[in-house]
C-alpha cells in the first residue's frame, strides 16, 4: 500500500484555515524563515483521500474490538466505549493545564481536580497504599518514579545504597529503570518459578536499596514466600517495589500495601480498561506507603475542609516534577469512570474471572503443550513449545499460525527463562466460546505441526503481508519515506 506521501498532489485542498492578510515575512525576519510552498514536505490531500488512507490502514490491524488478544502480561481486556465519551467532554478535553496554577488556584477546574483526588483515593483503597501520584505517563515511567522515590528515601535517611535486585523473571523495564535512576542492577535466579528467600538472602547486603517484584510474576505464579521476603528486606532497610503489570489477578484478594510493599506502579491501560492505542498513551500512577509519602512528586491535589480542591507544591522533600503537569489526565479519566462503573464487587469479579479463564485454558491445553510450572496459575500461564521446536516448529511459528486464525498471538518473546515460551492471558472479558475456539485452533495448529510442519512454518498466509524480514529492516535502516 502506498504511503500517504506518495498519494500527495500539491495544490490539493484538505482542511485549510483562512488565508492570512499578509505574508509571514511582514512579521518575521525572512532570514529566520524556511522557504515557501512545499518546504515542509507534508502531503497535500483531500479530506476524503486522508479518510480512505487511514481507514485502509485500520483494516490491516488487529485490535481487541476485532480480535482475541491473549497477550501474556499485557491484560488486553475489552475497553468500555462510554469512557471515550467521558474523556472527550469539553469541560475536560478543552481545559488548559496551567489554569489551576493561576491566582485563586483551582477555582476554574474543581471538576478535574476532583477526578484526580478521587482517582488517587480509589487506587489507595485498591492497593492499600497511603498515597498516590497520577503523574507518571506509562508503566515504565512509574517504575522510574518509584525508583527515584526509593533513592530519595535512602538519601534522606543517610543510607548508602547502590544496588537494586531484580528477579530473572522481571520485565526488562525493571532493570532499565533502576539503571536510569543511577543504580547497579543485581539479578537473582528464580527457583520453581518464584523468588527463593535463601537466594535473596545471599544477594542481600547493606548496599541494597530495594527489590523489584511482580506478583503474581511473569510466569503467572503467586510469590508465596512474600512474608519471608518482606522480613529479609527489613533487616537491611531495603524497600519492596511492586510492578503492577499483573494487578488484574489479585484485586480484592491481596492489597500490596497490606502485604508489605512500599512502592507500587499500576498500568491503567491494563487493569483499568483504558485502551492501549497501539502502543500508548498509557498511564502509570505510583502509590507509596506512609514512610515514602513526603517524597511524592509535586504537585499534589489536596481537598480542603470546605470541600474545595487545590494543587499544593509545598513539599520540601519531594522528588520534584516527573511530568510537566498532572500526568496523562485523559487516560486517568477513563480509568476513574471504569472504577466507578465496576465498584467493589465488580473489581473483585474481574480478578476472579481472569484467574478462572486462565486456569481453564491451562487445563485444556496441558495435554498438547508442555507447561513448565503446571500448578494453579493466576491470570496467565506460560506454556512451552520445546517438544514442537525439537521437530522444527518453533513458538514463533505457532504464534504466526494463530494470526491466520484471527487470534493475536500470545507473548512469545518473554519471559527469557522459559524456552520457546507461549505466555497466555485471556482476561475476564472473553467468553467461554472464544476460549474454546482458541483451544481448538491451537490444537489444530499443533496437530498440523506434526503432519505438515512446513505449513505452520509458512504462516501467516492470510494477512496483508507474509512473514517480515526483521534482519533486513535493521540492516537496511529505512526509517522514513525519504531514505
Amino acid at each position: 500500500m502506498k504511503t500517504v506521501f506518495a498519494k500527495s498532489r500539491p495544490g490539493r485542498e484538505g482542511v485549510w484555515p483562512e488565508q492570512p492578510a499578509q505574508d509571514v515575512s511582514a512579521y518575521i525576519d525572512p532570514a529566520l524563515l524556511r522557504g515557501g510552498a512545499g518546504t515542509t514536505g507534508l502531503p497535500d490531500l483531500s479530506e476524503l483521500d486522508t479518510v480512505r488512507h487511514f481507514t485502509e490502514l485500520s483494516r490491516k490491524n488487529f485490535g481487541v474490538d476485532s480480535n482475541f488478544y491473549p497477550l501474556g502480561s499485557c491484560t488486553m481486556k475489552y475497553n468500555p466505549k462510554f469512557t471515550e465519551y467521558v474523556a472527550a467532554l469539553p469541560g475536560f478535553a478543552g481545559l488548559h493545564p496551567v489554569l489551576p496554577q493561576l491566582k485563586g488556584a483551582g477555582r476554574f477546574c474543581q471538576g478535574a481536580l476532583e477526578v484526580m483526588h478521587e482517582s488517587e483515593r480509589l487506587l489507595c483503597e485498591i492497593t492499600g497504599m497511603a498515597g498516590f501520584t497520577l503523574h507518571p505517563m506509562a508503566g515504565a515511567h512509574g517504575e522510574l518514579t518509584g525508583v527515584m522515590l526509593i533513592a530519595a528515601y535512602h538519601r534522606d535517611k543517610g543510607n548508602k545504597k547502590t544496588k537494586i535486585i531484580c528477579p530473572d523473571s522481571a520485565h526488562g523495564t525493571n532493570p532499565a529503570s533502576a539503571a536510569l535512576a543511577g543504580y547497579e542492577v543485581v539479578t537473582i535466579e528464580s527457583k520453581d518459578g518464584i523468588v527463593d528467600p535463601a537466594v535473596l538472602r545471599a544477594a542481600l547486603d547493606d548496599e541494597v536499596a530495594a527489590l523489584m517484584m511482580t506478583c503474581p510474576n511473569t510466569l503467572g505464579l503467586f510469590e508465596r514466600h512474600l512474608p519471608e521476603i518482606v522480613a529479609a528486606l527489613k533487616e537491611v532497610d531495603a524497600l519492596l517495589y511492586y510492578d503492577g503489570a499483573n494487578l488484574n489477578a489479585i484485586m480484592g484478594k491481596m492489597r500490596v500495601g497490606d502485604a508489605g510493599f512500599d512502592v507500587v506502579h499500576l498500568n491503567l491501560h491494563k487493569t483499568f480498561g483504558t485502551p492501549h492505542g497501539g502502543g500508548g498513551p498509557g498511564s502509570g500512577p505510583v502509590g507509596v506507603s506512609q514512610r515514602l509519602l513526603d517524597y511524592l512528586p509535586i504537585s499534589r491535589v489536596v481537598k480542603l475542609e470546605d470541600g474545595q480542591y487545590f494543587l499544593d507544591y509545598d513539599y520540601p522533600k519531594s522528588i520534584g516534577y516527573v511530568a510537566p503537569f498532572y500526568g496523562n489526565f485523559g487516560v486517568v479519566l477513563k480509568a476513574y469512570a471504569y472504577m466507578l462503573r465496576l465498584g467493589r464487587e465488580g473489581l473483585i469479579r474481574v480478578s476472579e474471572n481472569a484467574v478462572l479463564s486462565a486456569n481453564y485454558l491451562r487445563k485444556r491445553l496441558e495435554d498438547y503443550l508442555e507447561i513448565p510450572y503446571n500448578r494453579t496459575c493466576m491470570h496467565e500461564f506460560v506454556a512451552s513449545a520445546v517438544q514442537q521446536a525439537a521437530k522444527g516448529v518453533r513458538a514463533l511459528d505457532i504464534a504466526k499460525a494463530l494470526l491466520d486464525k484471527g487470534t493475536h498471538a500470545p507473548t512469545i518473546y518473554f519471559p527469557l527463562i522459559v524456552k520457546e515460551c507461549i505466555m497466555v492471558e485471556p482476561t475476564e472479558t472473553e467468553s467461554k466460546e472464544t476460549l474454546d475456539r482458541f483451544v481448538d485452533d491451537l490444537i489444530e495448529i499443533l496437530t498440523r505441526a506434526e503432519s505438515d510442519p512446513a505449513s505452520v512454518q509458512a504462516a501467516p498466509t492470510t494477512l496483508p503481508v507474509t512473514r517480515l524480514d526483521e534482519t533486513l529492516a535493521a540492516r537496511g535502516m529505512v526509517l522514513t519515506d525519504d531514505m
Binding site: M1, T3, P10, W16, P17, E18, P20, A21, V24, I28, L32, R34, K60, N67, K77, Y78, E84, V86, A87, L89, G91, F92, L95, H96, P97, V98, L99, L102, F108, E114, E125, G128, A138, L144, G172, A176, G182, K253, P275, G277, G279, G280, P281, P297, P324, N328, F329, G330, E345, R349, L356, N359, T376, Y413, S431, K432, R467, A473, M477, L479
Partner: protein
Amino acid sequence: MPYIPHTPEDVREMLAVIGAASVEDLFTEIGPDMRPKRFDLPKGRSEMAVVKHMEHLSARNRSDLVCFIGAGVYDHYIPHAVDALTSRGEFYTAYTPYQPEASQGTLQAIFEYQTAVTRLLGMDCANASVYDGGTALFEAIMMAVRATKRTRVVVSGTVNPIYRTMLASYTCNLNLEFVNVPGRGAETDIEALKAAVDEKTAAVIVQNPNFFGSIEDCTDLFAHAKSKKALSIVSAYPVMQAILKTPGAMGADVAVAEGQSLGMPMSFGGPYLGIMTCTKDMVRQMPGRIVGRTKDTKGRTGYVLTLQAREQHIRRQKATSNICSNQALCAMRALVHMCLLGDEGLRRTAALCVERAHYAAKRLTELPGVTLLNKGSFGNEFAIRLPMSALEAIDKLSAKGFVPGFPLGRYYQGMDDVLLVAVTERRTREEIGVMAELLGGIL
C-alpha cells in the same frame, strides 16, 4: 457483571475442567497473612449514572474561558476527521505491534509519522514518540551524554522552565552538571551560551521559538558546539516549524518537540506527544521504538519495529533508556492532523497565528505603561510588561471570562509584572480587541 460474559453455567463447566470446587479455591496460594485488611470501595453504578456524574464534573471546569495561555500547550483547532479516524477500534484497542503481520496499520502509520516529523524539523530520523516534550528533552540529553561520554550540559534559561525543572528531578541521582545560562530579557543569550560550551560539554540546549516566544537563529552557536565536539539540542514548537528555519538547517544533532499542538486536545496536561528526531549518525543512541521498512517472504513492502537491540526487553539494564511504550495513538493523531492540513494548511495555520499575535501585541502595547519584551522577531507568543502585577491582571480579567496569559513571575525573578501571551488561530480579532479593552480598563 459488567463486561464479564461468564454465566453461572460457564463457571460451573470451567471449574469442572480445572478440577476446583469454587473460584475461591483458585486463590489458595495467597495465604491468610497476605489477605487484604479491607477493600472499602463504593458499589458499582450503571453506565448512565457514571456518565451523569462525569458530565457534572466536566461542567465544573471553565473550559469556556477565552484562553491566551500557551507556555508550551496551545489551543489549536482540531479537524473532526482526526477524532473520527483515530477512534477506529482497530487502532485504539490494539497493542504494541509485536506481531508485525497483524499490525501493519499501526506500523505504517508510525513510519509515516516518523517521515512527517523529520521533514517538519529538517532532521534525518525519528522514533515512534515518547511521553511528552519534557521527557523527550531529558532523553535527548541522555543521548548526548552517551554519545560524547561527557557529563556537562549547558542549558539556556529561555528553555521552558517546566522542562528544566523536570530535568533537575530526573538527573539528581546521576553524575551530571547543569550550567544554566540566563536569557537577556526575552532573548536567548547566544554569546554567553557560546562562551559556556567547552571541551567538557556534552550538549547545549536551546528552544525555538524560545519560552518567551522569540524566534532565533542558532546556526553559529551550533557550529561552535560542533567545534568543541559537543552536541546541539533544540526543543521546538511544531506548528511554528511549518514556517521557520528548521533545527536541521541550523545544524542541530537532536531536535525534540511537544507534539500537542498537532491534533491533541489540551486535556488538562495529557496525554501529549514527545517528538524525538536526530541526525542519522545518532539513531542508535535514540531511545524508544523505531519503525523500519522491510520486505515479506514474497518481496512485498512491510513495516516492523527495528533496532530493538537498544531496548529493555533485549538489553535490560544496558538499554538506551527505560522507555518502553510510546504515544502511538497520539502520534497517529499528529499524523492525521498533518495530513488533513497538509503543507499549505499547516503553513497557513502558523502564519495566521503569527498575524493575530502581532495584532494582539500591537493592541496591548498601545495601552499606557505596557511594553513588549521581545526585541527581535516573535511568532504566536510574546511577553509584555504591565504597570501592575501579572497575577492580579489575570485574576481580574478571568473573572470576566478572559485569561490574558501566563504569569512569568512564577518561574523568573523580577518578572512579576510580565505576562506571556499566546495567540492561536482560534482567537479572533474581536476576542483580542475585548481582551485589550478589559486590560486597559484595569491598568
